[in-house]
Symmetry: C5
Subunit: 274 residues, 5 copies
C-alpha cells in the first residue's frame, strides 16, 4: 500500500487523542506553545546543527518520499532481464540497442548502454556496483536525519519539562495552580516521546526499507546485466535472478512462462522453497 506510513502516523495520533478524550482530557489541555517551541524548535535546531543546511533541506522531500514511494516491482524486472537475455542470445548484444530507448529505469538503461557499448565486464561491474554503493550512502545521509531527530526529540522533551518544572517549583506559593502547571510541564515530554516514536522513527524505518529494497532491486539488475553480457543461457539467468524474489513471486513467474520452457522438474520445488 502506498501511503502506509502517513496512514499509520495519522491513525496513531487520532487514536491517542481519542483515548485521551475517553479518559477526560480536554484537547486544548494538550496544546502548549512554549513546550512545542522547545521540543520541535529545539529538535530542529539540534538536527540542523548536526547535519548542516544541505541535508536539513532534504527533510520535506524525504517526508514526501516516505509517504508516497512504492517498492519496485522486482518480478517485472526479472521478466525484462530474461527477455533481454533471450534476445541477446538469439540476435546478439547489438540487437538490444533499439530496446534501450524504451527503458525507463535509469540504472537499467545505463547498464544496458554500457553492455551495448562493449564495456569490459570487470569495468562494467565496478561502475554499476559503485553506483549502488553511492546510492546507498546518499540514502543513508537522508534517513539518518530522522534517526538523529528520533534520538534527540525525547531528551529535548525532558529538557523542556525540566525548564517548566523549574518555573513551577519557583512558584510553590500558589498550590491551586500547581496541578495544571505540572501537567503543562509534562507536555514537553509527551511531544518529545510522541514525535520520536510516532513520526521520526517510523519515517526513518520506512526510508531504510525503501533504500534496502532499491539496492536489492539494483543488485538483481546488475546480476541480470552481467548474465546478459556473459551470454548466459536465459534459463540459467532466470534461475539466478529468481533467488531475489519471494516464493510467491517466483510461483507467479514460473507459472507464467514455465509452460513453454524446459527444466520443468525444478519448478514446483522452487515455488515451494520458502
Amino acid at each position: 500500500m502506498k501511503a502506509a506510513t502517513a496512514i499509520g502516523i495519522g491513525a496513531t495520533c487520532a487514536l491517542i487523542l481519542m483515548a485521551g478524550i475517553m479518559e477526560g482530557v480536554s484537547p486544548p489541555a494538550l496544546i502548549n506553545i512554549a513546550a512545542a517551541m522547545i521540543v520541535f524548535g529545539g529538535t530542529s535546531g539540534a538536527v540542523f546543527a548536526s547535519v548542516g543546511m544541505k541535508r536539513f533541506m532534504l527533510i520535506p522531500k524525504l517526508y514526501i518520499k516516505a509517504f508516497t514511494a512504492e517498492y519496485a516491482d522486482k518480478s517485472a524486472r526479472v521478466s525484462t532481464l530474461v527477455n533481454f537475455a533471450e534476445r541477446a542470445r538469439k540476435d546478439g548484444l547489438l540487437a538490444l540497442e533499439e530496446d534501450i530507448e524504451s527503458i525507463e529505469d535509469p540504472f537499467l538503461k545505463k547498464g544496458m548502454q554500457l553492455v551495448v557499448d562493449g564495456t569490459d565486464p570487470d569495468l562494467l561491474y565496478e561502475i554499476l556496483d559503485s553506483e549502488i554503493d553511492a546510492m546507498t550512502a546518499r540514502h543513508k545521509d537522508g534517513h539518518s536525519v530522522f534517526e538523529k531527530g528520533g534520538g534527540l526529540a525525547p531528551t529535548i522533551g525532558v529538557l523542556g519539562t525540566v525548564v517548566s518544572l523549574i518555573h513551577v517549583l519557583g512558584n510553590l506559593s500558589a498550590p491551586e495552580t500547581l496541578g495544571p502547571l505540572i501537567a503543562g510541564a509534562f507536555l514537553a515530554t509527551l511531544y518529545g516521546v510522541g514525535s520520536a516514536n510516532v513520526v521520526f522513527y517510523p519515517v526513518c524505518y520506512t526510508l531504510q526499507a525503501l533504500s534496502a529494497a532499491e539496492a536489492d532491486e539494483r543488485r538483481l539488475v546488475l546480476e541480470g546485466i552481467m548474465a546478459i553480457q556473459a551470454g548466459d543461457n536465459p534459463r540459467v539467468a532466470q534461475e539466478k535472478l529468481l533467488s531475489y524474489l519471494s516464493p510467491e513471486q517466483r510461483a507467479v513467474i514460473l507459472g507464467d512462462d514455465g509452460k513453454g520452457g524446459g527444466s520443468s522438474a525444478s519448478e514446483p520445488a522452487a515455488a515451494q522453497a520458502a
Copy 2:
C-alpha cells in the same frame, strides 16, 4: 517442545496476574480500555507506519509460526545426504534421479535436481547460497517487526501514562479520586513494558532462533550436495557434515551406522568432542 513460546507467554501472564491478586489487586483494576487503546493501538499504528502494509499483514502468520514451528531434524538430513553420497558413488549421479521425487524438503529437492541436471558446481553453489541468503533476509523482515514492536511499546506506554497524568494533574481539586486515577495512568506503562518483554521480544527471539536453525540446516544440506556432486568419499562427507551437529546427535549417528564402517578410531573422539 513445540509450543514453548505460547506456553511461556501464557504462564508468565498467569503468574503476574496471580501474584497481583496475592498482593490484593482486584483483576478489574488492571483493565483500562483507554490505556489499552493507546498502547496496543498506538504500537500497532507506529509499527504499521514503520514496516508498511505488506509486512504488517505477516504478523498473524508469524505468531502461528513462533507458537507451532519445530526445529528441523539435522540428524535425519545427515543420514539422507550420506545415503545419497553412497548411492552416487556406487551407481553414478543419475541414479539419484528417481529418489528426487520422494524428497519433501524443497531446498534439498531443488539442489539434488540441479546436481542431476549436471549444473556447474560454482553455479550450483551460487544459486543455493543466494537462496539461503534471500531466505534469511525474508525472515529478518519478519522478526524485525516484533523487534520494532518491542522497542516502541514501552515508550508508547510511557506516552499513555503522561497523557493520563496530564488529565489527573489538571483535576487536583478532588484528592479522593486521585489514587485510582494515578493507578490507571500507570496501567499504560504496565501494558507497554509487559507486552514488550512478555510477548514481543520472546516472539522475536523465537523467530530469530528458528531462522538461524533453518539457515544452519540449509548450509548443512548445501555442503552435503556439494560433496555429493564432487563425488566425495561418503565417510569424508559424513565427517564434514557431523560438525553441524551437537556431540549428542553425533553420538547417535555414529552409534547407528558406525558398526559396519571403517575409521572407528575417530568415533569415540568425535562423540566426546563437545
Copy 3:
C-alpha cells in the same frame, strides 16, 4: 552553508530561553554557578581523564573546525583529475610535472608527485591508502572527544542534581524555601542534558560528517590518480569518478563538457541515475 553548526546551536539555545520566558521563567533563575561548576567542570575533568592532555587540547581547534569548515568540492576534483588524465594521455605522465606546483590540495599533490616519480602502482596505492586510513583515525581521535562529552554530561548532570537534592533533603525544616532549592537542583540535569544534546552531539556529528566527506573525496582522488597512472581512457576515468558524485553534481559536469565529448548516449542516463 558554512556556519550551520554554530547557527543551529545558537538558535536552539535562544529558542529554549525564549520558550522558558514565555512560560514565566525569569532568566536569572536558570543560572546556578555551583551546578555549572559540577556539570561543565566535572564533564571537562572526566573527559580530560579519559582522553589525556594532548587530545583535550584539540577541543578549541575542533570547535572552530565544526563551526567553519566547508565540505570539499568533489565536482572540481573530478574535473581536475579528468584534465590530468587527458594531458597524461596526450603528452605522457612527465608532462604533469609542471602542473604539480600549482596544486593546492596536499594529498593530490603528493599523489601526483609519486606518479611523476614513477612509483610502483601497488606501492603508490598502499602509501595513499594508509594515508587516508591514518587521517580517518586521527579524525576519530578528535570527534570521539565530543562523543565522550555527550555521553558523560547527562549523567554528571544527574550527579549534580543528586548532590543538590541531598542538601535540600537535609533541610526539610524550611518548607517555604524548598521549591526554589529543588528547582535549582534540576538545573544541573538541565545543563547536562542540554549541553550533550544541543552542543556536544551536534558538534560530534558535524565532525564525523566532515571526516567522512574528506575521506570520500580522497578516495575519489586516489581512484583518479590510479587511473591516470594506468593510462586509462579519460572518459572511462570520468565514468568511474562520477559514481562518487550525487546525480545533480553529475548532471552539471556532464552538461559542461559533454558537448564536445563522445559516448553521448550514456549521459542522460547517468544524469538521471539517482
Copy 4:
C-alpha cells in the same frame, strides 16, 4: 580460582544484606513472595518463551559450569604439541599413533587421529575449524540465555513494582499503611535489578570468558596440528604457538626447555615481549 563466580555472587549478596541491616532494614522486610513470583517466575517464563524448552533445560548445567569450570592449561598444550612435533620429525607421523590412545582432550585426539590417517591438510583444517565454530555457536546458545535473563529481569521488576503501585494507589484511604506497601512495591525492582547485575550478567560473562578461552585453546591446538602435519621444525612450531600464551607463561616454558635448545638469543626478548 575455581569458584570465583559463586564466591563473588555470594559475597555480594551477603554484603548488600549486611549493609541493609546496618542501615536498619530488618531482613524479613526484604522478602515478598508476590514480588519474587513476578520477578523470578516472570523472568523464567519470558526466557522460556524466548529460547524454548531445550535451551531452557541447559540452565542448571550452565550454572554448574560457570561455578566450577577451570580455564584450560595452554602451557601444557604447547609442551604436548611441541613434543609431538619433535617425535614426528624424528620417527615420522605414524609413530604418533601409539600416543593417541593416551590423549585425554577429545579435540586434540580427533585432530591427531586425522593426521595419522593421512587426511588432506585442507580437509583437516576445514573439519577442525568448523568444529571450533560449531562449539562457539553452541556455547553462545548457552550464555545468551543468561544475557536474555539479565536484560529481561530489571524490566519485569519494574513491571512488578507498577502492579504493586496500582494496588497501593487504589487504596490511598489508609495512609498509615502506605509506607510499607510502597516499600514492598520497590522490592520487585530490587529483585529484578539485583538478580540481573549480581547473578545473570556475571554468570553470562563467566561463560563467555570460558567459551573464548576454550576456542582460543583449540585454535592453538589446530595451529599445532597443522604444523605437525606440515613437518615444521619443532622450534618454529613452538615460536608460533608461544604467541597464544601470556609473557609469563612463555617465560616458564622457555625457562624449562630453553637450556638444551638453540636460538637462545630470542628467549629473553620473547619473555619480556608483553
Copy 5:
C-alpha cells in the same frame, strides 16, 4: 602529560565537592558507610564474579598503568627503523646483529633477531602479527574489567538506594527524620553514578587508548621490519612509515634528515598532508 587520568579524576572529585559545599552541603553529609559498602563492595563482588580471580587481581596494576603510562614515541621508532634500513642496504642484514643487543623494546628486538636469523618473511610476519593480536586481546582482558565496573556501578547504586528507601518507607511515622534518610538513600546512587563516570570509564578509555597506541606502534615496527628484510630503499621505507605519524611529527622528521636526502619535492607535500 603523564598523569592526566589521575589529575582529571582528582580535579573532578575536588570540583564536585567544592560545588556541593558552595550549595551548602556539609561534607560529612556525603559520607555513608552502608551505601559505600553496597556500591563499592557490591560492584567489586559482581566484577569479581564476572571476570574471575586472575583478571580481578590485575586491577591495581591497571590503575598504575592508567595513571602513569606514557604513549610510545613513534617518531623515534621511525628514525631507528630507517637507520636500520640504511645500514642493511649498505652492509647487509647480518651487520644488524651487533645493534640488536642495544635495542630496548622487546618487540623490535625479537623482530630484528628473527630477521637476522633469516626467518622466512611469511613466517616472520605471521609470528609478529599474532604477537600483536595476542597483546591486544590481553589488553582487552584488562580494560574490559573497568568497562564492566562502569556498567555495573550505577545499577548497583540504584539497588542501594532502593534498599535504603525500603527502610525509609517502612518508618514513615517519624516525618522529621525523613529528609536526611532519603538524602542518605540517594548517596548510593551518587556513589554509583560518580564512580562509573569519574573513575571507571575514564580509566577504561585511557587503557583503551594506550592499547590502541601500542598496537599502532607495533604495526609501524612490523611494517618497518618487513621493509628491512625485503631490502627496500630506505626512502621508500620512510615514506611508508610516515603515514603512521601525524602531520606535525612528519614535519619534524622530514625537517631533520631531509636536508641530506633525495626526493625533496615530496616533503612539503607530506608535511602538509593532514
